[in-house]
């Protein structure tokens, strides 16, 4: 029996899973980074409240993403994760600290300042570490056979560190967009002002990474700049430019949802850009998606449950955002 090729389905599921993680945890990590810049205690509490009911759900996508990579492309997991040993370590420790700071700052009031800083620093470090992982992934790894054989610090290069900083700006931009949705008045103006700075940082980040990537890898340069690719792919930079303009406009006028949506659009375009550069590799330069795919039996066994559970999780996630919609106000809830 000719089995149905499930690799495209798993590629799609994993790509969506990672994107959901980046979009969802991205904005709450961003809010975490902006948190310590908030003007006063009351504002900080509002900022915290804007993500309180949803952050832990957002983080669960990370588990699904990592286990999904192991399940769908085991050899890619076995190469990529040890190659980014220290960024992963920093990310995990930062996420632990950040998550528990969230819970402990209310219950361990004597050390509230400590947990406040833990929350902001943990968010920033997690964002930076994820950017380094992304940068190292784009650069590629030193692979022999089916294993990473480079050093554990190889992943820290000027490019990957730059990507780390760029992602901090990107997440902070998403966070500012989220705060514009969730707050009003002076606090919203503050979020808009920060959002404009983050947008500038993000644009520089996207621009430099976009030019640096083809410079690192001639294959990527050929893919983007050779005729007729340059025509087919022209919409990617053009749409990105339009989104940047739209984001800037919306941060300056009174629209509430547009800054967040435009920022999310920038993430979509960057994601598409990276996918175009690397396709069809899952371990750049070594394994294609097909070569790295798990056995058909593994893919099929997991797909059965996933096709049932994933839509339910998506609906539930959407529902919980619906329940907690609207502005955060200081007169509701705690204190």
């Amino acid at each position: 029996m000719q089995a149905l090729d499930l690799v495209p389905i798993w590629t799609t599921i994993l790509a969506l899973g990672v994107f959901f993680y980046v979009a969802l945890d991205g904005f709450d990590l961003g809010v975490g980074m902006l948190y310590n810049f908030a003007p006063d205690r009351g504002a900080r509490d509002l900022v915290m409240n804007s993500i309180a009911p949803i952050w832990d759900g957002n983080e669960t996508w990370l588990i699904l993403g990592s286990v999904g990579l192991l399940a769908a492309f085991p050899v890619a997991f076995a190469i990529i994760i040890p190659a980014v040993y220290f960024p992963i370590l920093l990310m995990l420790l930062a996420l632990i600290f950040r998550g528990l700071s969230f819970e402990f700052r209310y219950r361990d009031a004597e050390h509230r300042t400590f947990w406040d800083h833990g929350f902001a620093a943990g968010s920033a470090l997690a964002a930076f570490a994820q950017g380094v992982v992304l940068g190292a992934f784009i650069q590629g790894f030193n692979v022999q056979g089916r294993q990473f054989v480079g050093g554990s610090f190889d992943c820290f290069t000027p490019f990957s560190v730059f990507a780390g900083v760029a992602l901090m700006f990107g997440y902070a931009l998403l966070g500012a967009g989220w705060l514009v949705i969730k707050t009003e008045g002076a606090l919203q103006d503050w979020a808009r002002a920060l959002g404009r700075r983050c947008l500038i940082g993000t644009v520089i980040g996207i621009g430099v990474v976009s030019l640096w990537t083809p410079y690192i890898d001639p294959h990527i340069a050929a893919r983007w700049f050779s005729w007729p690719h340059i025509v087919y792919l022209a919409p990617v930079p053009l749409i990105t430019a339009a989104l940047i303009w739209y984001a800037w406009q919306s941060l300056n006028d009174r629209s509430e949802y547009a800054p967040f949506l435009a920022s999310l659009g920038l993430f979509v375009m960057s994601y598409i850009g990276i996918a175009i550069s690397l396709w069809p590799m899952i371990v750049p330069g070594h394994f294609t998606l097909d070569q790295a795919a798990a056995s058909p039996s593994t893919q099929a066994f997991l797909l059965i449950g996933t096709l049932f559970l994933l839509p339910v999780i998506l609906v539930y996630t959407a529902w919980s955002y619906w329940v907690f919609r609207g502005k955060v106000r200081s007169d509701i809830g705690y204190h």
């Binding site: 832990d56 539930y316 809830g333």
Partner: protein, 465 residues
């Protein structure tokens, strides 16, 4: 000093899973206990059960949060430190781990929201259903994680191609020979652990003289539950041991400290296993007893450690002692429960200060037994990651140096030594504030509590600080 990346990676895994397992050991049982309290409340409408459920939910929220963040670390360990194992076994174990994530995410996260925030939004019967589903979610997490672990202990249903493991029969893989015993023994251990916590907190509450009614219910419920589950746990442990004898004889020999196999083997009560000399020093042993309880015959044949080459033996002393610690704690538990029933029969349970104090001390017994049992089964699996097939030494990531792993281990140690004491301290505060704290259930507002803990904390005077 030579830093061995394999050994340090093992220490690191032991460190992160040792702390992590304490949380499921508590939350699996607590979720079922809360579901029970909610069920009784939905049926009887007696407010004391509502008070108790509210009280334990506050503690559940904290421990659940800690379980989630320390749990995120676990799948990454397979990649960061055990990449060759991930490549070799990924096709077999990854769907089991992924199903853990999917089902747990679905059942726990979804219905935990209703359980924590939905008291006023849904009728008590629905609230009970949410509690049951959260409990089912925690059990399903345990199911998939233990299925993964059991396959590594007793691998079946696979084929090997080029040194990598491919699935042949998923039913065999999920229900591998040690799985039913491991699952029953572990879940029962988690339930006993939780019951001892409830017993200790109940004793504290009674002794302090506030919320005595709630304390008395906790004490009695816990004692009755333990009267069934501690003996049951000992029986399940025996069955699990017999399964180990059948499928992992070298591990069993290490547990028994049995060097020379044969017929009518002795039972080693206590001694010092000396791996170099291949004998136990200063040993107290009872002749033929080992064969009796292992094979249920005085002359039954049991393999000894010397029947296996030295490079296929687990670190004997660790396994030997951790097993005895576990069994010793089990016997101690039995004594505590028996004493409780004697006092209950004499109607002196609530007035016997020494016993109530003792119960406070035994709060940690279950956790210690879980760690000891886990150490027995995991160190006993050495030197293999996949028992008899893939060595731990062949599983570690080739790129790691000893210094790399030492650095990451130290960072994990530092962070866990901050978060666990704080987490325990936060839970102790809830215990001190007591179950009868005002129950003007936290206003849901427009559905915007700031965090699960805080929504619950707001129901206590302390939380309103």
């Amino acid at each position: 000093m030579h830093l061995d990346p394999e050994f340090l990676s093992r220490i690191q895994f032991a460190w992160v899973i040792g702390w992590h397992i304490l949380l499921p050991a508590f939350t699996v049982g607590l979720a079922s206990y809360i579901a029970f309290l909610e069920g009784v409340y939905a049926l009887t409408k007696r407010p004391i059960f509502l008070n108790l459920s509210q009280f334990w939910l506050r503690i559940f929220a904290i421990s659940f949060g800690m379980g989630v963040v320390t749990g995120i670390v676990m799948p990454f360990q397979f990649g960061t430190n055990w990449s060759r194992f991930s490549d070799a076994a990924g096709n077999v174990i990854s769907p089991l781990l992924a199903y853990e994530g999917l089902t747990a995410f679905f059942l726990e996260a979804t219905f935990l929201g209703v359980l924590l925030f939905g008291r006023k939004l849904v009728p008590p019967s629905m609230h009970f259903v949410a509690a049951v589903l959260v409990a089912v979610g925690t059990l399903s997490s345990a199911f998939w994680i233990l299925a993964t672990n059991s396959w590594m202990q007793t691998p079946v249903g696979y084929e090997v191609i080029d040194g990598r493991y491919f699935p042949k029969d998923w039913f065999e893989i999920v229900f591998s020979p040690s799985f039913p015993y491991r699952f029953a023994h572990t879940v029962s251990a988690f339930y006993v652990t939780t019951a001892f916590v409830v017993l200790g907190v109940g004793a504290y509450t009674v002794r302090r003289g506030q919320s005595v009614a709630e304390g008395r219910v906790m004490l009695r419920l816990a004692l009755w539950f333990l009267a069934i589950f501690v003996p049951l746990q000992i029986v399940l442990g025996d069955m699990h041991g017999l399964n180990t004898l059948a499928y992992q004889p070298a591990k069993l020999a290490a547990i028994e400290g049995l060097w020379d196999g044969g017929h009518g083997v002795p039972a080693s009560i206590i001694g010092w296993p000396d791996a170099a000399a291949e004998k136990n020093l200063a040993e107290i042993a009872i002749p033929k007893l080992g064969s009796l309880y292992l094979t249920h015959s005085w002359d039954g044949a049991v393999k000894g450690l010397k029947d296996f080459p030295p490079d296929q033996r687990a670190p004997v002393a660790v396994v030997y002692f951790s097993f005895r610690i576990m069994v010793g704690i089990g016997l101690l538990m039995l004594a505590v429960v028996a004493a409780g029933f004697v006092l209950m029969a004499r109607q002196q349970l609530d007035r016997t200060q020494w016993y109530l104090r003792l119960c406070q001390f035994t709060t940690c017994l279950g956790f210690l037994a879980v760690i000891a049992g886990w150490t027995t089964t995991e160190v006993g699996r050495q030197p293999w990651t996949i028992y008899g097939l893939m060595r731990t030494a062949d599983s570690v990531s080739p790129s790691l140096t000893g210094a790399n792993v030492l650095l990451s281990l130290l960072l994990y140690v530092a962070v866990y030594l901050v978060i666990f004491p704080v987490g325990v301290g936060v839970m102790l505060r809830v215990v001190r504030s007591g179950p009868a704290a005002s129950e003007d259930l936290a206003p849901i507002g427009s559905g915007r509590p700031k965090s699960p803990i805080e929504a619950l904390a707001a129901t206590t005077p302390e939380g309103a600080r």
